[in-house]
Amino acid sequence: MAIVDFKFALEQVPAVLKGVPWTITIAIVAMLFGLILGLLIALCRIYKVPVLNQLSILYISFIRGTPLIVQLYVFFYGVPVLVDYLNPRLGLHIDADEIPPLMYALVAYTINTAAYQAEIFRSSINATNAGQMEAAYSVGMTTRQGLTRIVLPQALLIALPNLGNVFIGLIKATSLAFAVKVVEVLAISKIIANDGYRFIEMYLVASIIYWVLCLVCEFILFKLEKRMSRSETRMGLNASV
């Protein structure tokens, strides 16, 4: 008897695909907010802003040092504890149960990914030559102008491949979102699998969907990098002329 019922697996694909929008929403929103938060944290660390710098170090170390699934649980069960604590003190009436699961997921994934993005930004900003900033000052730019016009565009280019990896990691990581009640690709697969114990088929469907999603993202990133580096070489040529 063959263990994998391919026909069954194939029939379930449309149902499982309904989870893809959730996966993509979590990945993209967390990525975007993570970019902003990560950049701010990176700047705090580079300019050694007192207190914020130390807090950032602690935060990054915690996020890097614990499995994502544990972070999700701490967050998911911690928020109600926090809400219970704050409600009477601030005169609020928030019911932690009424917060939609997607909200939990978006915030938790943003907190997670921002730590990684902060480290990427920090190293790529550091990789941009310090002389660049001095040159910006010498033509009368402020720190802010120097950062936004000169340093960050270059840093972003350096950071792009790593950011791409983070995004792909994020897509795979969304498979854990079921822990905070988001019914995404893997969750739908598990629900379908339960009635007839068809876990192999459903894991197969889910992993192929993830694989395809990752390949599509890799392809887009590849194109993006090619495009970006084209402008880079052109600049190089102009400089040498």
Partner: protein
């Protein structure tokens, strides 16, 4: 394109490995006895199955298996903890010979695994509500009301899915999550954040011992026979154990065990059980 070719090859190898998952034989012999590997779910359910402080499995299930093992001189049982989903995959691929974890029977599952003829115990699936509510007695009363979030796997979920399949016009609203906490869910009902929780009676009793919430069993939905499940090829072993299960039921051993762990003999009928304290209303 070279890349596409590689991906195609990858997908093929991936499928081939999975397709290669045909049923393997059971494990090797040791001192003449045949080792039977039994998967236990990590989602432990006292008092059916849980662990002591050294992580040794204990509970009703284990006492039952110990009785069975005594009567099978040629076999030695070996227990393996694992996630329920992975246990079932393992059963499918022949990693383990059987799995025990109050498995409920349904036709779809019988297609996949071998179920024995005789059950070794029962679970009373029930609706738990606040003590002062009497509008909820059956699943029908729960249409349009709020359940606590429940796990995607497990027999309880299948009963609700089954209800929805047969009542497509008035389905129950079910919220899912991975590994919900029963204690937290009961507190949700207690605080009025959900109308009811669908739970096994024994689980409710066990949690109540610690939490003592203002809750009651509002209605027993079913008395589900529970089974061991076997790999499809293990029918011989299943038949042997079936005979022993029947023996143990008839000579009262299982009734005694039930009394020991649940303070009630669930082999009696529901009326008796109700009289003995599973009474609701």
């Amino acid at each position: 394109m070279k890349r596409n070719w590689l991906i195609l090859l990858g997908a093929t190898v991936f499928l081939a490995i999975l397709a290669g998952c045909s049923n393997g034989g059971s494990s090797t012999t040791d001192d003449g006895k045949k080792i039977i590997k039994i998967a236990l779910s990590d989602d432990v359910n006292p008092p059916f199955l849980y662990t002591d402080n050294e992580n040794n499995p204990i509970g009703y299930d284990m006492d039952y298996l110990a009785e069975v093992e005594k009567r099978l001189p040629d076999y030695k049982f070996e227990y393996i903890f694992g996630e329920e989903e992975s246990n079932l995959v393992g059963l499918d691929t022949g990693k383990v010979d059987m799995a025990i974890n109050w498995f409920f029977k349904n036709p779809e599952r019988e297609e996949k695994f071998h179920y024995p003829k005789y059950e070794y115990g029962y679970s009373l699936t029930s609706l738990i509500t606040k003590t002062d509510r009497d509008d909820i007695k059956t699943l029908d009363d729960m249409v349009g009301k709020k359940f606590t979030p429940m796990s995607a796997s497990g027999g309880l979920r299948s009963i609700l899915n089954g209800y929805n399949t047969s009542n497509p016009d008035n389905p129950l609203t079910i919220e899912s999550m991975e590994h919900p906490s029963n204690a937290d869910n009961l507190k949700r009902v207690d605080e009025g954040k959900a109308d009811a929780i669908f739970l096994n009676k024994s689980t409710f009793d066990a949690v109540q011992e610690t939490l003592n919430l203002d809750l009651k069993v509002a209605g027993i939905v079913s008395k589900e026979p529970i089974f061991i499940v076997y790999n499809k090829e293990n029918t011989e072993l299943a038949d042997q154990i079936d005979e022993i299960t029947l023996e143990l039921t008839e000579d009262g051993t299982l009734s005694n065990l039930s009394d020991k762990w649940f303070s009630i003999d669930f082999f009696q009928d529901l009326d008796y059980i109700n009289e003995k304290g599973f009474s609701y209303n």
